[in-house]
């Protein structure tokens, strides 16, 4: 079992509040990812769950038992650190055995578990080596292996891939997902990389400045971001944001006016808008097409990045930046005028406080 419940978790270092009233239920076997910009408190949250930091307020429960006062060693969790934190003076085998020996496990079982983990991670060949003699990827496996042999109720992973090069990161990501499928235990994973979050998570927890901004499945967050921050954080390249105003309201549709006098029609079925409201309109770059239709936006092209399979267009719309990613190769160059169409694109509306407008 690996159910973790956080209730009103607070943590402050001196006068600085790092975590503010965090509530979260993590289900058994779930792969949950904490994501957010650096300094948002995601690592601190992980460390409070681990027991490496004491909470200032709130409750942490593991499988229904309050563990606030339980030390890190006795919470039954295992952690993979960003720097791997392998003991440099011990061989790989000793690294894996250290934690087991500390809980006075019989030697035979220690050996069995190490062998099992080593096979699973394909690190048998270098069990007698020291971490200094391993490559970054190998060290990373050992760090995971050290967690696996403990058979923890939950794995805590603190940016475990950030020290790998790009290629290795992609393959290890896939292996991690496979590992989770095989072990079936709860994993809590911290990263600042939203791609990792999207590819690995059952649920993503987006954090900012010590608060949870939104919790949801990757596609939830992508399709219906709860606020402007989440909208901007999830998805690459970032969502475009245009300033707008409600021009007309009809049943089922709202007409928005942008700065340049363009009019955009949005399906809308709520009551929270009234004519004249100032809004932010979010459009993902991938949803913009190059077309000259009645509703299209006339822009000036600033920069073109031809990536072969797609073309990234940096455009200027009456002083506002607009980014479009269009498939294929386009004959277009900086300085050109172009028409970008958002017809059929899902438009995200955010009110003055950056919250998603209900009904949009």
């Amino acid at each position: 079992m690996g159910e973790i419940t956080l209730t009103k978790i607070k943590k402050s270092f001196g006068a600085v509040d790092v975590l503010k009233d965090i509530d979260l239920d993590i289900k058994d076997g779930e792969f949950i990812v904490f994501v957010g910009p650096s300094g948002c408190g995601k690592s601190t949250l992980l460390r409070t769950i681990a027991g490496l930091e004491k909470v200032t307020g709130g409750e942490i429960e593991i499988d229904g038992k309050r563990v606030n006062e339980v030390s890190a060693a006795d919470r039954g969790l295992a952690m993979v650190f960003q720097s791997y934190a392998l003991y440099p003076h011990m061989s790989v085998r000793q690294n894996l055995a250290f934690g087991l020996e500390n809980s006075n496990m019989p030697k035979a079982e220690v050996a069995d578990r190490i062998l099992e983990a080593a096979r699973m991670l394909e690190i048998e060949a270098y069990l007698e080596r020291r971490p200094g003699q391993l490559s970054g990827g190998q060290r990373q496996r050992v760090a995971i292996g050290r967690a696996i042999v403990r058979r923890p109720t939950a794995f805590l992973l603190d940016e475990p891939l950030s020290n790998l090069d790009a290629e290795l990161r992609v393959s290890t990501r896939a292996e991690l997902a496979a590992l989770h499928a095989r072990l079936g235990s709860t994993m809590i994973y911290v990263t600042h990389d939203q791609v990792e979050a999207m590819t690995l998570a059952h649920r993503i927890v987006v954090m900012r400045a010590g608060k949870i901004e939104q919790v949801g499945t990757p596609l939830d967050l992508y399709n219906t971001p709860a606020n402007r921050f989440v909208a901007g954080f999830i998805g690459a390249p970032h969502m475009n944001f245009l300033a707008g105003e409600v021009a007309e309201l009809e049943t089922g549709t709202a007409t928005l006016a942008t700065a340049g006098g363009h009019r955009l029609l949005v399906p809308f079925s709520g009551h929270s808008l009234s004519v004249g409201d100032k809004l932010t309109i979010g459009i993902r770059p991938q949803h913009i097409t190059l077309a000259n239709d009645p509703g299209s936006l006339k822009v000036k092209v600033r920069l073109v990045e031809a990536l072969g399979s797609e073309t990234v267009i940096h455009a200027d719309l009456n002083g506002e930046k607009l980014l479009a990613v269009v498939p294929g190769q386009k004959l277009i160059s900086p300085g050109d005028e172009a028409h970008l169409s958002v017809a059929g694109a899902p438009l995200h509306l955010f009110d003055r406080n950056g919250l998603r407008v209900k009904g949009s």
Binding site: A50, A73, Y87, F98, G99, N102
Partner: protein, 350 residues
């Protein structure tokens, strides 16, 4: 050879000798002689007999004058090479000297006394190492005891220093706690309190603890060196905190973290401190001099100084024991010099 000498004698002015090159080499070679010369001279002297030591001008190598037992004479007689009136030279033994004339005999024909002008004879000498200078102090004086005392003090004090200082350094580098800066300040302040300032009250404390005339009285006040704490703390700060978190997750107790993780990783700094500590404790003088008043408790340094301060100094023994006292330090110098010099250059501490 040509290339090597050109490399060693690299000069500023290329081919010609710039004046700074001359100064450099005069300084370096002069330094070589002045720095090593005295110790080497002492080492050579330590193998001379008392008679040879009293000689002036002194010889560099230890010579002894040859003697022979001649039939008819109780004591061994000294051998001389004498110039005979006929111009030949002969090895003769001197019986006695009267004014400028020496009465000598031929060891092979002891019956006949030969008179030789003392200006016409030179002593027969051979190189011989007076190793009894070394053996006698150990067998007949207490120097073996002193050597043992010195070794005991040095080894014990170093071990305790390493343990106690590393524990403190661990606490000061890896824990956040109230009073940490106060503790640092206190340790820093003790840098300002050398032994010479507190020797009187320290003596009274040692006495009231019953440690006067006790080697532990020499050891204990020296082991909590602020320098040691600083060197180790500085080094421990470079050990990533994540390693300690990892060990905590691995169910290690704090003592285990100290002993199994932090201490092994601090080995290089511990080695530097160990070398320093060995040299310090081996060389300590003033404090042992105060605490130890019974002869059998003296360390080598105290023993040497007491013996050399006696009215009738037996230099042949003193010199030999000085060499013995120098040996560990010379060994440290030869094998660990690089270690120490980089250690000092790095920390500015000694």
């Amino acid at each position: 050879m040509g290339v090597a000498s050109r490399f060693i004698l690299r000069r500023r002015g290329g081919k010609s000798w710039h004046w700074t090159d001359v100064v450099t080499w005069v300084w370096l070679l002069g330094g070589l002689i002045i720095m090593f010369g005295p110790a080497v001279w002492l080492a050579f002297s330590s193998f001379k007999t008392p008679a040879a030591l009293a000689e002036f001008p002194p010889s560099i190598l230890p010579y002894v004058t040859s003697q022979a037992t001649v039939q008819g004479y109780d004591k061994p007689l000294q051998l001389f090479e004498a110039k005979m009136p006929d111009g030949s030279t002969k090895v003769l033994a001197e019986v006695r000297r009267i004014g400028l004339v020496a009465q000598m005999v031929d060891p092979k024909a002891p019956g006949e006394i030969v008179r030789v002008n003392i200006g016409d004879r030179t002593p027969v000498r051979s190189v011989s190492f007076a190793t009894e200078n070394y053996t006698t102090p150990f067998t007949q004086f207490d120097f073996l005891r002193y050597l043992w005392n010195s070794v005991f003090v040095t080894v014990t004090a170093t071990l305790i220093t390493l343990i106690v200082n590393s524990m403190a350094a661990f606490a000061l580098s890896k824990y956040e706690f109230r009073g940490r800066s106060l503790a640092m300040l206190i340790i820093l302040a003790t840098l300002m309190v050398p032994l010479s300032v507190i020797m009187v009250p320290l003596y009274s404390i040692i006495s009231s603890l019953g440690l006067f005339n006790n080697l532990w009285g020499v050891i204990l006040p020296t082991v909590a060196t602020p320098t040691g704490v600083f060197i180790l703390r500085q080094y421990m700060l470079t050990i990533p905190d994540e390693l300690i978190d990892a060990a905590r997750m691995d169910k290690a107790s704090e003592w285990q973290i100290y002993w199994r993780i932090v201490l092994p990783l601090t080995a290089p700094a511990l080695a530097v401190l160990a070398i320093f500590s060995v040299v310090w404790r081996w060389n300590d003088f003033l404090w042992p001099l105060i605490v130890l008043s019974r002869r059998e408790l003296y360390t080598l340094q105290v023993g040497l100084s007491i013996y050399s301060g006696e009215l009738n100094v037996q230099w042949h023994f003193i010199l030999a024991m000085t060499v013995v006292t120098m040996i560990p330090v010379v060994l440290v110098f030869i094998f660990l010099q690089r270690f120490i010099t980089t250690g000092i250059a790095g920390t500015g501490l000694k």
